[in-house]
């Protein structure tokens, strides 16, 4: 398989730098001035052991021919002489893509740069510059350089109602499948050791060949039995309110998770239970919760979905699940509660339908949105008055339900034609 080809500007930048110890790989378009300030301050704030290392910041340059080099010159007027900036061309992404989620080909370019520079550790900065503007770099890099971790994932301090797709699907599903309890498996910021770089490059080549654009670094580390660590960080990413709609985010991320499931089916079928991942540094207090959440619109969307999408759901879900959903969608239900076991079976049945292409995958993932909103409503009603710690315990219970439901997934995956009432 062909390796990624770096642009002339990037090659020139790498040749000029020759080699480095650390690479700070910025994977999303950012303001160059803000980047210069944030990167310099972040490196100066890491402490002597890291700030003395030769560090390169890879950042997406402008698309014009001369623009990247110009940006590089501007950036190098920074305060720290050891810090070098090398631009790279951000691969063209489909306009339908989530703008703040880097595509696999971006990671491919960044890891190729890390390989060429021969760095010991690479910190990927996604979404925005929030990671560089908070206490992120020092503990993450320390975990790689001093603790010997191959992949370090952040643990963001989120509120009860933040990162709900992660809490309801990404984290518990990857934990049940690959047996590692990573709290944020699709975190936009992470650090990795030099050992991981060639392995992830191979994984990215495969992902690109299969047309997958979302990259799950934690999954790749778990299936290779690499040392994964977690670090509590203060970083918070706030997605723009007028950005991509929920269905698009859900379709792209859950779709790629299901695609990964299909690719790694032989591996995850052998995994039983899950192992905790070492978490370094002290937990960061989550932000204070706002007013009580209004779940009525989400319950209404769920009920509307049940009234209209039964013909689609019946192609994917077994009759007993549909019966339980019917009971739940009945108007006037005093307490809206979607049991964990039911939610887990829904996610597993959708995974199977994705694999079997029971219906168009776009339709399949679109039809999951009302069910997901039903789960969010149920969760919000349950943890509305709970403390963050209690909410975390509630999510742990959900994750265990995913693990306990795995035999159901295995059975459906291996014998999809078997009678399933």
């Amino acid at each position: 398989m062909a390796k990624v080809e770096l642009s002339e500007e990037t090659k020139a930048g790498i040749e000029e730098v020759r080699e480095a110890d650390l690479l700070i790989a910025v994977a999303v378009p950012v303001d160059t001035e803000q980047l210069r300030t944030a990167a310099t301050e972040a490196i100066l704030g890491t402490g002597q052991s890291i700030s003395e290392l030769r560090t390169v910041v890879a950042f997406p340059g402008s698309t014009g021919v001369d623009a990247p080099m110009q940006a590089k010159t501007d950036l190098e007027s920074g305060e720290k002489p050891g810090l070098r900036f090398v631009p790279y061309a951000l691969p063209a992404a489909s306009p339908e893509r989530i703008p703040w989620l880097p595509v696999a080909s971006t990671y491919q370019t960044l890891f190729a740069m890390a390989r060429e520079l021969g760095v010991s550790a690479c910190a990927v900065i996604g979404f925005d510059l929030a990671a560089l503007q908070t206490n992120f770099l020092a503990p993450m890099m320390t975990a790689v350089l001093e603790k010997g971790c191959d992949l370090v994932m952040p643990v963001y301090a989120l509120g009860k109602f933040d990162g709900l797709l992660n809490s309801s699907i990404y984290a518990p599903l990857t934990r049940a499948l690959y047996g590692r309890r990573v709290r944020f498996p699709l975190a936009p910021d992470f650090c990795l050791s030099s050992k991981m770089i060639p392995e992830l490059e191979l994984a990215l080549q495969r992902a690109n060949a299969q047309g997958q654009s979302t990259f799950w670094a934690a999954t790749e580390a778990a299936i290779r039995d690499r040392t994964i660590c977690q670090v509590n960080v203060e970083t918070r990413h706030i997605p723009p309110a007028d950005g991509v709609d929920l269905t698009t985010v859900l379709s792209q991320t859950v779709g790629s998770l299901y695609a990964d499931m299909t690719t790694h089916a032989a591996l995850w079928q052998r995994v039983r239970g899950s192992q905790p991942v070492e978490t370094l540094s002290v937990p960061v207090a989550p932000p204070a919760d706002g007013a009580a959440a209004d779940t009525t619109p989400m319950v209404e969307t769920f009920q509307l979905g049940f009234r209209n999408l039964q013909e689609v759901w019946s192609l994917v879900l077994p009759p007993v699940t549909l019966l339980e959903l019917k009971r739940l969608a009945r108007p006037g239900t005093s307490r809206f509660h979607l049991p964990d076991e039911l939610w887990v079976r829904i996610i597993y049945d959708f995974a199977l339908a994705y694999r079997l292409r029971t219906i168009s995958r776009t339709h399949l993932l679109g039809a999951l949105t009302p069910l997901y909103l039903g789960w969010v409503a149920s969760y919000a009603l349950e943890v509305g008055n709970a403390s963050p710690a209690e909410a975390e315990q509630r999510l742990e219970k959900l994750a265990r339900a995913y693990e306990e439901g795995k035999p159901y997934l295995l059975s459906r995956w291996r014998w999809p034609d078997r009678f399933n009432p």
Partner: protein
């Protein structure tokens, strides 16, 4: 008299048998042509499948747009192309067989029927495509409308489905040269009627909804959080 009846029966019998005998070579030629082309189709389909598998066609296609998989989720692009190649060649064999059959018979009716067969084939293809497109679009609209919390999601979906089906039916009839101007006129009236009915249904049905929504927006104090923003999904 009985001898005349018997003679008449014998003569008609002989005519029918001689007629069948004259048709037999044509029927045989038809069967042979279909079988021969089916064999060629099978070999070519196998070659196409082997070639597409060798160049990893499905994987390459998945890198770009995945439109084929979306429209036909149960079949891989390779299977679809292989089947299209197979059935196209079988169809050619069928037409060659019919031509051979027609050449062996000098009947005017059979000649006209043979000339009409391409129209029938085209109409069948149009009908199948129209149904697939109608089903896909109606499901897309239904799911999209539900996710946008539109209470008339089913109505919209049905409207789209019938628009496409009516359009397909008009195209099929036009292709079969049935009805001519009446079909055009009826299609125009029906199509316009559906669009008008949908516009009225959506417009009148959501008038109150829009005004209430605008009133709420105007009355909301600055800085107040929308209920949806209390939840961050990503």
């Amino acid at each position: 008299m009985w001898s005349q009846v018997s003679q008449s029966l014998h003569e008609s019998m002989a005519r029918v048998i001689s007629r069948i005998a004259t048709l037999l070579p044509g029927i045989l030629a038809f069967i042979l042509a279909v079988l021969f082309f089916a064999a060629i189709a099978w070999v070519l389909a196998w070659l196409v499948r082997t070639f597409l598998n060798a160049i990893r066609f499905d994987e390459r296609l998945a890198r770009g747009t995945n439109a084929i998989a979306e429209w036909s989720p149960t079949y891989t692009p390779t299977t679809l192309i292989t089947r299209v190649v197979f059935w196209c060649i079988v169809l050619v064999g069928f037409l060659v067989g019919l031509e051979a059959f027609g050449a062996s018979s000098d009947n005017l009716l059979s000649a006209r029927l043979l000339g009409y067969i391409p129209n029938v084939v085209g109409a069948v293809v149009l009908l199948i495509l129209g149904n697939v497109i109608a089903r896909f679009l109606s499901r897309s609209v239904l799911i999209g409308a539900v996710n946008m919390n539109l209470h008339y999601a089913r109505l919209l979906s049905l409207g789209i489905k019938w628009l496409v089906l009516v359009l397909t039916a008009a195209m099929v009839l036009d292709h079969l040269s049935i009805g001519a101007a009446i079909v055009d006129l009826a299609f125009g009236i029906l199509f316009g009627g559906i669009v008008f009915a949908l516009a009225l249904a959506v417009g009148l049905g959501s008038r109150d909804l829009v005004s209430r929504s605008l009133e709420r927006e105007a009355a909301r104090p600055a800085g107040e959080t929308m209920p949806e923003e209390q939840f961050r999904h990503f």
